[in-house]
């Protein structure tokens, strides 16, 4: 007998709201979470729009002010979403023993600001700063000493930038001592973590997992993505499925879901949002950062969707809703659209398709988890939020894109796609819960 896995809690920190109760109406009403970047200023940077988290107060999630010094925003968002997910699930205290409580999180590499890195290096050499100041610069004559306390970096600064720290903090706050996995594949890793937690429960490693992804806008990743030419320079968020090679809009946030072995969830009387029935993470090495010549080929994406359906023992005809990745492409073409047409064939025009990217921006490791959470809510509420600001391109004709108003529809099975720009694609299948 295959062990079944259900979703029993959702915790969301996002540009369109900081709780499931706030996010779901935002999605249904197409509330735009993007806007001019406010958390840092880079006048010389081309990209100026992002989906930022608003009104976030770490104290709302029992984060101790003293610990805040050790936490960058990514960690704070992760802790907050884990806290919300646990609260939402109604799991009390030690319902699961610590060693049976697993955690899988998608993370995005080292998270430091250029400024802190610079200061920390100088500070540790004990040298005063020596910069090649151009003649006539107004700061040329001002000495800067690294022993200036205002310039010093917190002694435990390194611990706030390591990729795995979100997991460590959540483990401490929630007393989780089970399997503890940090996945790092940039944009696919949030969805991958949910899929891997699902597999781990199915396998019998643990009965209970928190899984998702977290990402906060930070100067280093902003610079890198800009350098890659991946970010849109437009004011305003990019339309979904846009093929005009403009690049995408960044977003931030954290989404964590509670996954439990089905019988145990039933036994404790937990509210079940949906069952997770399929997962596939497929690597399409031809589409690595769209640098290769094979980049118009949709076969990697379609293979990914097909594998997730086969994992769920479903056929394309069983799918009632597709939460598309809908990312804006940097290289023209629309591989996702071709992939959907290929997998779902004649039926493709009948299946409602939507995406949340235009409202939130691309939340990198959190985006796959956000897609998944939105899909779970659709399956639970039998309601599909519209894809606002969807491109009007020719290729979309014949597909059933839900573009204006939310659609009420019985959903038995839904697919959530997250396609990574490094070529790591992930599809998750969520099904209506039945005993």
């Amino acid at each position: 007998m295959i062990r079944r896995v259900v979703v029993t809690g959702l915790g969301i920190i996002s540009p369109v709201g900081n709780s499931t109760g706030e996010v779901w109406p935002s999605l249904l009403n197409s509330k735009d979470g993007t806007g001019p970047i406010s958390s840092f200023a880079y006048p010389s940077f081309p990209a100026k729009t992002a989906g930022e988290v608003k009104n976030f107060n770490p104290r709302d999630y029992k984060i101790k002010p003293k610990s805040l010094k050790l936490m960058n925003k990514t960690i704070q968002y992760a802790i907050a979403s884990a806290y919300l997910a646990m609260e939402d699930s109604g799991i009390e205290g030690e319902a699961y023993p610590p060693e049976n409580s697993g955690l899988a999180l998608g993370v995005d590499g080292l998270q430091y600001s250029a400024e802190e890195f610079f200061l920390a290096c100088y500070e540790s050499t004990g040298k005063d700063l020596r910069i090649n100041v151009s003649p006539g610069n107004k700061y040329a004559d001002i000495p800067i000493h690294t022993n200036d306390p205002n310039l010093s970096v917190h002694p435990l600064w390194p611990l706030s930038v390591l990729a795995n720290m979100s997991l460590c903090h959540i483990s401490i706050q929630q007393q989780f001592q089970g399997p503890n996995l940090a996945f790092s594949s940039i944009d696919a890793s949030g969805a991958q973590s949910i899929g891997e937690a699902f597999k781990s429960i199915r396998h019998g490693e643990s009965d209970f997992y928190l899984a998702g992804g977290s990402y906060a806008l930070n100067t280093m990743s902003f610079m890198s993505l800009s350098a890659m030419g991946l970010l849109s320079k437009e004011t305003g968020a990019c339309p979904a499925f846009d093929s005009s090679e403009k690049g995408f809009t960044l977003g931030e946030g954290s989404v964590v879901m509670v996954l439990e072995e089905k019988e145990l969830a039933e036994k404790r009387g937990g509210r079940i949002y949906a069952e997770i029935t399929g997962y596939s993470s497929y690597y399409d090495n031809g589409s690595f950062y769209r640098v290769s010549s094979k980049d118009q080929d949709p076969s990697g994406l379609s293979e990914c969707i097909k594998q997730s359906l086969s994992c769920a023992s479903l056929s394309p005809a069983d799918i009632d809703y597709i939460h598309a990745d809908g990312r804006t492409d940097i290289k023209g073409g629309a591989p996702e659209i071709s992939a959907l047409k290929e997998v779902f064939g004649k039926n493709a025009g009948n299946i409602p398709i939507s995406t949340s990217k235009p409202l939130t921006g691309h939340m990198l490791p959190a985006s796959g988890a956000f897609d998944a959470a939105s899909t779970v809510l659709s399956v639970y509420h039998d309601m599909i939020p519209p894809a606002k600001n969807c491109s009007k391109q020719e290729a979309l004709k014949g597909l059933n894109i839900i573009a204006e108003n939310p659609l009420e529809k019985q959903i038995k099975n839904a697919v959530s796609n997250t396609f990574g720009f490094s070529g790591e694609h992930t599809s998750l299948v969520f099904s209506k819960y039945k005993q």
């Binding site: 319902a95 400024e115 290096c121 700061y139 399997p179 610079m223």
Partner: protein, 449 residues
Amino acid sequence: MTAHYADKNRYKAKKEKRRVVITGVGAVTPLGNDIESSWQNLINGKSGIAPITLFDASNYPVNIAAEVKNFHLDTAVPEEFKPFLGRSTSFCIKAAEEAVKNAGLTLDLIDTSDIGISIGSDEESANFSLFEKMFENADILELLMARKSANGNSHSFPHLDTSKHLGKIWPFRRSANIAASMLSILQNIQGPIRTTSSACASSAQAIGKAVRMIQDNDAEVMLTGGCDSMIGEFSLTGFTKIRALSKNNDDPEGASRPFDMKRDGFVLGEGSGILILEELSHAQKRCAKILGEITGYGSSSNAYKLTATPENGHGPDIAMKAAIDDADCDIDEVDYINAHGTSTYLNDKSETAAIKNVFHDRAYQIPVTSNKSMMGHLVASAAAIELILSTLSLNSDLIPPTINYENPDPECDLDYVPNESRNKRVETILSNSFAFGGQNASILVKKFQ
């Protein structure tokens, strides 16, 4: 008291488990750029630690490390991928080539969609000289002034001009999953890939994931392991700041002294270790030589403190027990432990306690060694290389020593195989890896029968 909903029978949910064997290994380490030379130096107790040459570290409080020496990557890499190849990824490609060759795998003859890749690695941190260039026009001064006037609270960059340095390359960071991607592209492997980033436990988790992927029918063959190259300004600064590094600059070879009373921190290393894992029948069908069988894997979290490991060893012991349970093995069967053994005061004490929690009195009869005494701490690739070296012990019945063990610490009182390698029949080994912040993973390997 809340009821526990734990399903005690969850391990039984596993049906007939597919067996996972090791059929090839490859490594680039501070002791050598292949398996043979690394192993020879290891069993002879040679240290790979010396003053840093990769950049001018003379002004840093710590200026020793275990560098990979005379490294050159011969692989032909297409021009468009070259910007993605950092030092760590290059190690990984070299180690993978050796592993594939060692396994006798002819990739053209196998459906490469059955081959997966699972790598533990870190993002390659920024090169400091690039930063300095970026700030050449004195914008850094404006930035620092802004920070000063805001009493250290400023987070804004007034005029950071990156335009000059922004090309189609990625100058500041190479994300962690580049290594796995590059292996897939360069070896033309079409199967699933995974990247884990849990600091010092990364590659143990990657290998664990690889084992599960074979057991769960997601792949027949896995290239798995880790790579890392943290010897740079960033890590040297960071780890010095948290006082994790040994400051024994005057005696590089004696700096890493796991379990010794005078240990004062770890030494940064770099390198890569790659293993070829195969489903048993797949390996047997092609008459591959089998180096060992991975029978158990366990992962856990300390949920204790970010800055310290629990003195009572509770956390790491959960991972060890989980690996032993997963292998359906008895604690009496384990006859060698390849310890995490970083040479920090806290880790070695906590690990010793954890081993005793799991093995009780038997702990004193099991040889426990730390390869880090010679290779330093290879961070994300540490677990992979240590597992490879343990596998070699399994095949040669020879246990490498823990060098620099001179002054016994009453709190670390196990048999650490001091200074001289030892001949001993080894059937089952346990390899431990524990990360900063408290993530742990243990892997159990058995002689194949």
